[in-house]
Amino acid sequence: MRHVVAIFATVVLLTAAPSIRVNAVVSDGRVLATFAAIDSWTIDTRETLQFGTVVTFDYYVELRRPATFWDKTMAQINLKAEAKFDTLTGKYTVSRNRDGRIVKSEKRDAENDVRDWLTVYDEPIEFKPESPLKANTEYYIQVRLFKYPPRGVCLWSILPGGCEDSSGRSSTFPYLR
C-alpha cells in the first residue's frame, strides 16, 4: 500500500512544475515563437538519459487569444525533441519532429548539446492559424511540456489538458500586419 500512496503522492510534486521562457515575435504578419525550458533539464532527466532510455520532450506550443472565460486557441504546434544515449559508444542520437514529421536527426557527443537540443528552441517557429488573426488584437503564446518517460503518475492526467511537466507563456502582444 505504501507504494500506492507513494505513486499518487508524486502528484503533488509534479504540480510544482518549472516554467518555460517564451518569446513571441510578430514579423511581416507572421507570428513566430522561440522558447527555452532550461529548468526542465533535471537530474532525473539526465539520469534517465544516461540509463540509455529515450527521453522525449513533448511541447505543445499554442497561439492563443485572451478571453473573459476561456482563452481561444488560434493555432497549435506539436514539437517533439528526443535524445537517446548509446551506453555502449557514449554517443547521443538526437532528433526533432514537428507535428509528427521528423525535421532533424543527428548524433552528438556532448551532454550540453543534448540538453540544449531538448530544451531550447531558438530557431523561430512560425504559426499557421486556421483563421486569419485579427489586427490590433492581443494574443499570447503558451508552451506546455510533457516529458517522457514520466517519473511518477499524475492523477489529473485523466482530465482533458493532462498534467504537464512545465509550462510558460509569453506576455500578450498586439498582432500588427
Binding site: 539520469e47 540509463f51 532510455t53 522525449t56 548509446d86 555502449l88 559508444t89 557514449g90 517522457y148 518517460p149
Partner: protein, 766 residues
C-alpha cells in the same frame, strides 16, 4: 408481475420489461462473457505493460484505466447508495419484508464487498512487493558493471584505433600525401598495419580549392579482413576530419554482424595546413558485437524499467483495481439482483394480500418463476379469484337485500304515515310490554308524548286519568288469545271522551307472544250523535204527544172562565176559577212554547252549504248587536283573521250559531247593561276567526271574561234540556252543536284567560 384489472385505486405498475430482459439467459450469458472478456483484455494489457512504450503506457493504458476505475467506483457508489437509500426508505415506510430484504442485501453485499476489498488490499501489496524486487541491488550492480565493462572495452578499442590513427598521421610523409605518391605511402601504412589486428587504413588527400573535399589515395588492409567496399563511410569520416580539423570517430555495423570502429585523423603539414586524412578502422567480430549489445540492451531495459517503474506499477495496480471493481460491481449487482429475485415474489405476495385486505380483490400477481414461489403466486391468484367471485355474490345478495329493505322501509313509512294520519290511536308493544310505537292519534287521545316509547305500558297507564285502560294492560300481560274489546270513558282536562279500545296479542311463528297492539278509537262524537238522535226522537214524541192535548186543555180552561164570569156564582168562586184558569192557560202557553222549541230541534233542516266568507258572516251578524250595546259597558271585539279562506257553510245556520254563542256570552256577563267585572275590567266578548293551515281548519272562537263554566258542566252544556241559567229549554247549544256537526266540524268549550269561557268552533276549510 403485479397486474390489476380496472380498480378504484390503480396499483403500482411492475417494470416487467426490465425484468424480462434481465431474466433472459442470453442477456445474462452475454453480460458474463463481456465481463470475462474485459478482465481477460486487462490481463493481456498487464502482460504487455512492461514492454509498452512509455507514452502509450501512460496516455493509452494508465490514465484511461484510471478514469475507468474512478467511473466504476462512482457507479458502484451510486448503485450502493441508491439501494441502501431504497432499503432505508422501505424500512421507514414499513414496507412488507423491508427488514428481511435489508438483511439479505446486507449479507449478500458483505459477501461480495468484504472479500473483494481484502483481495484488493492484499493484491496491491503483493504487486508492490513484487515490483520492489525487480530492482534489487545485486541485479542493478551486475547490470551496471556489465555495462561499464562492455562500454569500457568498446571505448578502449576506439581509443586504440584513434591512437594508431594519430601515430600514423604523424609518420606518413606529407609530400607523398599531397602528391598522392602511393609507393611512398605504402611503407608507413603497412608498417602500422602490422601492429594491428583485423584493421584497415585508408588515406585521403585534400583537394585544393576553397571547398573542403578529399580524394582517396590508398589503403592497406589486414589479410584476414575481407570487408569489401566500405568506402562511402570512410569518405564522409575523412571529410569531416578535414573539415573540423579534429579526430572523428564512428562505428559502422557490418552485414556480417561485426562492427568497424573507425577514427579519422587530419594530416597537417609543417605549416599546420591540412593536406589529408587518415581513416583507421578496426574490426570487431560479430560475436563480440552481439554480446556487447546484449549486455547493453539488458542494462538499458533494466534501467528503462527502473525509470518507468512508477507508471508501470501504477498500471498494474490500476488494472488490478479495474478488474476488482468490475468483479465487485458484478458481484454487487448480482447480490442485489438475487436479493430482489428472492424477496420480490414474497414482497408482491404481501402487497397483494394488503391490496386484497383493502378490498381490491381484482389484484392478480404474475408468476416470475416456475418454482415453489411461482406455485404460491398461482395459489394466491386462485384465492383472489375465489374471493372476488364470492364478493360478487355477496354484493348481489346485499343489493337484493338492500332493495328489499328499501321496499320494507317504504312500506313501513307508508304504514307509519297512515297510522299518523288516521284518527284511530295505535300503540304497539313488544313481548315485554314496552311501548314500541305510538301514533299521533293515540298521543292526542291519551295525552302522551313520544318519549313514552320504550317505557312499560303498565307504568304509562298508571296515570290516574288513564286508569280505565288497566284491563287492556292486563289482557296484554295475560296474553289473552282473543284479546279484549271494550268501551272506555276517560276524563281528560275536565272533558269526557269515549274510546272504543281493543287489545290484540301478536303471536309469533312459534306460537309465542311477540307483542301486542292497542287500538283506541275516539267514539265521543258518535256517542254524542247517538244521544242527540235520541233526544230528537224524544223531542218529536214530546212535541206530538204533549202538544195535541194542550189545545183542548187551553180551550177548556177558557170555557170554564167564561162560564163562571157570566154566571151568578159567588164572586169569591168566580175569582178562584179565574185565577186557576189563568194559571192553566199560562202554563199551557208555556208548554206550547217548550213543545215548539222541541219541535224545531227535531225538525232542524239539513244545511245548504256553499263557499262563503266566514269573516263577512261574523261581521254581518255582530252588526245586529250595534243597537243593543249602546246603553251598557259591554263590548264585542272582533279579531278576524286576514288569511281566513272561504268555507263551505250554510250562512243562515252559522249566523244562528254565532247569535246563540254571543247571546250565551252576554247572558254570562249579565246582559247588555252588564256591570264591570269584579276585577274592574269592562265586560268583554271577543269573536275571533283564524286559519289552521296545518290541519285545514277554520276556527271561530267566542270568548267572554265572565264567570266561566265549571269542568263538570262542560260536557253537559251541549245536551238538550240542560241549562245553567235555570230557565229556557236548554236546547240552544244542542242545536249549535248539531249545526256544526252537520257542517262536518266540531265545537269545544274551554276556559278563557285570565277568566271566562271560550267556545271554539272548527269548520273544514273549503
Amino acid at each position: 408481475m403485479f397486474e390489476t384489472r380496472p380498480t378504484p385505486e390503480p396499483q403500482r405498475p411492475a417494470p416487467e420489461g426490465r425484468h424480462k430482459v434481465l431474466d433472459n439467459p442470453r442477456v445474462l450469458t452475454a453480460a458474463f462473457l463481456l465481463l470475462v472478456g474485459l478482465i481477460a483484455g486487462l490481463f493481456w494489457l498487464s502482460r504487455r505493460a512492461a514492454e509498452t512504450d512509455t507514452q502509450v503506457l501512460t496516455d493509452v493504458l494508465l490514465y484511461p484505466l484510471l478514469a475507468l476505475s474512478i467511473a466504476l467506483l462512482f457507479t458502484l457508489g451510486l448503485v450502493l447508495t441508491r439501494n441502501l437509500l431504497k432499503l432505508w426508505w422501505d424500512h421507514r415506510q414499513a414496507a412488507p419484508f423491508a427488514k428481511y430484504r435489508a438483511k439479505l442485501v446486507g449479507a449478500l453485499l458483505a459477501m461480495s464487498i468484504i472479500p473483494a476489498v481484502l483481495v484488493l488490499i492484499s493484491g496491491s501489496e503483493i504487486i508492490s512487493n513484487s515490483a520492489a524486487r525487480w530492482f534489487s541491488e545485486p541485479v542493478d550492480e551486475v547490470l551496471t558493471s556489465a555495462q561499464k565493462i562492455v562500454s569500457r572495452f568498446y571505448q578502449d578499442q576506439q581509443a586504440d584505433v584513434t591512437r594508431h590513427a594519430q601515430q600514423l598521421a604523424r609518420a606518413v610523409p606529407v609530400a607523398a600525401v599531397s602528391s598522392s605518391d602511393e609507393a611512398a605511402l605504402a611503407g608507413p601504412l603497412k608498417a602500422e598495419l602490422a601492429t594491428m589486428r583485423d584493421s584497415l587504413i585508408e588515406l585521403y588527400r585534400r583537394k585544393p580549392g576553397p571547398t573542403v573535399d578529399v580524394v582517396f589515395v590508398t589503403a592497406a588492409e589486414s589479410t584476414a579482413l575481407q570487408l569489401g567496399p566500405l568506402r562511402a563511410s570512410a569518405d564522409r569520416l575523412a571529410l569531416r576530419a578535414v573539415d573540423t580539423r579534429s579526430d572523428q570517430t564512428s562505428q559502422d555495423l557490418l552485414d556480417s554482424g561485426g562492427v568497424l570502429l573507425r577514427t579519422a585523423t587530419p594530416i597537417a603539414n609543417a605549416d599546420g595546413q591540412i593536406v589529408g586524412a587518415l581513416v583507421v578502422s578496426k574490426h570487431l567480430d560479430a560475436e563480440i558485437e552481439r554480446e556487447s549489445r546484449r549486455a547493453i540492451a539488458a542494462y538499458e531495459r533494466y534501467k528503462g524499467l527502473f525509470v518507468r517503474q512508477d507508471p508501470i506499477l501504477a498500471s498494474y495496480l490500476t488494472i488490478f483495481l479495474t478488474v476488482t471493481l468490475l468483479i465487485l460491481i458484478a458481484a454487487t449487482w448480482l447480490g442485489l439482483y438475487l436479493a430482489k429475485r428472492i424477496t420480490r415474489p414474497v414482497q408482491l405476495l404481501a402487497e397483494g394480500a394488503r391490496a386484497i385486505g383493502a378490498g381490491h380483490l381484482d389484484v392478480r400477481l404474475q408468476a416470475e418463476t416456475g418454482d415453489e414461489l411461482g406455485s404460491l403466486v398461482e395459489a394466491f391468484n386462485m384465492m383472489a379469484a375465489e374471493l372476488e367471485t364470492n364478493r360478487g355474490k355477496l354484493e348481489r345478495s346485499s343489493h337484493d337485500l338492500e332493495r328489499k329493505n328499501v321496499e320494507v322501509e317504504g312500506r313501513r313509512r307508508y304504514i307509519e304515515t297512515i297510522l299518523e294520519r288516521v284518527a284511530t290511536g295505535v300503540i304497539s308493544l313488544d313481548a315485554a310490554g314496552r311501548i314500541q310505537t305510538i301514533n299521533g292519534a293515540a298521543q292526542r287521545l291519551l295525552g302522551l308524548e313520544t318519549s313514552t316509547v320504550g317505557h312499560p305500558i303498565r307504568a304509562v297507564f298508571a296515570r290516574e286519568d288513564l286508569a280505565p285502560l288497566a284491563p287492556l294492560v292486563s289482557a296484554v300481560e295475560e296474553r289473552t288469545e282473543r284479546g279484549l274489546v271494550q268501551e272506555v270513558a276517560l276524563t281528560r282536562d275536565g272533558r269526557e271522551i269515549n274510546l272504543a279500545t281493543a287489545a290484540t296479542v301478536l303471536a309469533g311463528a312459534d306460537g309465542g307472544a311477540e307483542g301486542a297492539v292497542l287500538v283506541l278509537d275516539d267514539v265521543t262524537p258518535l256517542i254524542r250523535a247517538q244521544r242527540v238522535a235520541a233526544w230528537r226522537d224524544v223531542a218529536r214524541r214530546l212535541a206530538h204527544e204533549i202538544k195535541n192535548p194542550l189545545t183542548p186543555i187551553q180551550l177548556s180552561a177558557e170555557r170554564l172562565r167564561r162560564h163562571f164570569t157570566n154566571s151568578s156564582v159567588p164572586a169569591q168562586s168566580t175569582a178562584l176559577v179565574g185565577e186557576c184558569t189563568d194559571a192553566i192557560i199560562t202554563e199551557v202557553e208555556a208548554l206550547k212554547g217548550l213543545v215548539d222549541e222541541f219541535a224545531q230541534f227535531a225538525r232542524l233542516r239539513g244545511p245548504r252549504m256553499v263557499p262563503a266568507d266566514l269573516n263577512r258572516v261574523v261581521d254581518d251578524t255582530l252588526g245586529l248587536y250595534a243597537g243593543v250595546l249602546r246603553q251598557g259597558h259591554l263590548r264585542i271585539e272582533r279579531q278576524l283573521g286576514a288569511e281566513v279562506p272561504p268555507v263551505r257553510i250554510d250562512a243562515e245556520q252559522i249566523r244562528q250559531v254565532i247569535i246563540n254563542l254571543v247571546d250565551n256570552a252576554m247572558e254570562a256577563l249579565g246582559g247588555p247593561a252588564a256591570p264591570a267585572r269584579p276585577g274592574g275590567e269592562p265586560p268583554l266578548i271577543i269573536v275571533m276567526t283564524l286559519h289552521d293551515k296545518r290541519n285545514g281548519l277554520v276556527r271561530l272562537l267566542v270568548s267572554d271574561n265572565g264567570p266561566g263554566v265549571s269542568a263538570a258542566d262542560r260536557d253537559k252544556l251541549f245536551m238538550p234540556y240542560y241549562s245553567t241559567k235555570g230557565r229556557g229549554s236548554g236546547l240552544g247549544l244542542a242545536i249549535v252543536r248539531r249545526i256544526i256537526v252537520e257542517h262536518g266540524g266540531g265545537i269545544e268549550v274551554g276556559d278563557a284567560h285570565p277568566a271566562g269561557t271560550t267556545f271554539t268552533v272548527e269548520l273544514p276549510a273549503a
